[in-house]
Symmetry: C2
Subunit: 318 residues, 2 copies
Amino acid sequence: MIPEKKTIEAAYGRIQPYIQRTPIMTSAGVDEMAGCKLFFKCENFQKIGAFKARGAMNAALQLPPQQRSKGLATHSSGNHAQAVARAAKILGIKSYIVMPNNSSEMKRRGVLGYGGEIFLCEPNLRAREETLHGIINKTGAAEIHPFNNYEVIAGQATVAKELIEDVRDLDVIVSPVGGGGLLSGTALTVKFFSPTTKVIGAEPEGADDAFRSMQSGKIEPAAVNSVADGLLTSLGEKTFNIIKTEVAEIITASDKEIVAAMRLIWERLKIVIEPSAAVPLAVVLKSKEKFFGARVGIILSGGNVDLEKACELFNKYR
Amino acid sequence: MIPEKKTIEAAYGRIQPYIQRTPIMTSAGVDEMAGCKLFFKCENFQKIGAFKARGAMNAALQLPPQQRSKGLATHSSGNHAQAVARAAKILGIKSYIVMPNNSSEMKRRGVLGYGGEIFLCEPNLRAREETLHGIINKTGAAEIHPFNNYEVIAGQATVAKELIEDVRDLDVIVSPVGGGGLLSGTALTVKFFSPTTKVIGAEPEGADDAFRSMQSGKIEPAAVNSVADGLLTSLGEKTFNIIKTEVAEIITASDKEIVAAMRLIWERLKIVIEPSAAVPLAVVLKSKEKFFGARVGIILSGGNVDLEKACELFNKYR
């Protein structure tokens, strides 16, 4: 069932011992460039370096004891893999993580660091799902989907909950959108706790399936061509159902605009964020007229980027 | 006169409206690597991106009104230049900043952004001092020396004051040392407010003049060969007098060790620091036995680094 006000409050109480309350940062210089007042919610400082720690933990904590004891399973090339492995470690159970064989060494090390067992497969959705189902059949582990899961959505909704508690009277919150877990959670939080705030999704041009889905009214397949490697999946049914009614608009940004926004955040806020986390600021800077004079919450979704890769991007789009 | 307990308390009260109380960060992963408990004082989030905002402001606020009205002057290629320009802007007076003609575009823009007037000169100490004295003779502006000035030292001392207020029972504080303003200020704060804490200076091997000065008992000239470009000056008489009696030890680190520590902080803490700010962690990691099991305060002095330059360093010392 779509998370309600009480569901989100309960999720927050449940995961609070296991997550960071991340800080809000501001920059007068960036505000001046943007023509509005920006409040950056720094989930790059979250456990595992991204908001994904919230949703995975909320889902894992709600498994019935017998189911829980069989472990957790998921397929992910990114932050959700570490989030599930960490949740399992905290609960003292096993985790089985299917990762594409082209996933980065750094991310594999993250999963192994939390005691996760990695299963490599070919880098396509079919191979990932088949490998995962094989493991689940064998172990009885519980699948934790990265976004198409209401417990996960309720967990991600707690990011915006902290944001609106710390910053009053936001006119808009801009969240990145990939599979839609964070965006749909943000939209629900705003609906229940700050209904005058508008929610906007920020998406890479090269993976603009959410933008197209909003136009067509049905889930469109994702293109997969963007530097924002955390946002390449298409929406799920559960996330799209929430997004299509609760989100005002999806705005896209080019890779060049995303890297420029990422550079600005590294240089001015002195913090490290991953490309996907830069999309909301990129969207604000390219659509200034829409945000002029407003109080804008920006969700910096994560900070897991290889320094070599970041440097390549800065160099390429200099 | 060497700052006393009351002087540092007064300095803190005086500058508080104009500076940030910067956060303390921790990382379980880095603690594990270091074998001790580290508390990072994040002056990279300070106004102008470095602790220098404190000392310059404290000195500027203590000028007699008539002297103050004639403006501020200094020579600096780095963070102190921006700190003086910012102090002048806040006070509504002029600032005259002598910068070497090889100083970075980014740093010049910083000074101009605060309304400072820049005078370029040849990149050597004699040209810098001559240019500065010419300006002072003409304008009557007050020189604010970057470190050999007791008001500046008392201002920099407030970094450690906040650190020991936020983190109880530190066994050691490790501070970078260039001209010695931050290190001598840290040593005074510890002497007055936390006398059981030890203070250690962290210096690049390629500019180990403070290390050699401690051996010889007199101020040794600085070598100027290190990636830690904020730490290339030699000590001043005022800073050395404090350091030689109040600092337990100076430890040096190589450029390779400095860049490795910088990378670790970017990757694990998800924050941007400049090479000079990485020297204390480099020193702890290379001398683990000295810090084993201790509670260690690490002063991250600043975050002003060109991304292109940082990427070059990461690549060179990979």
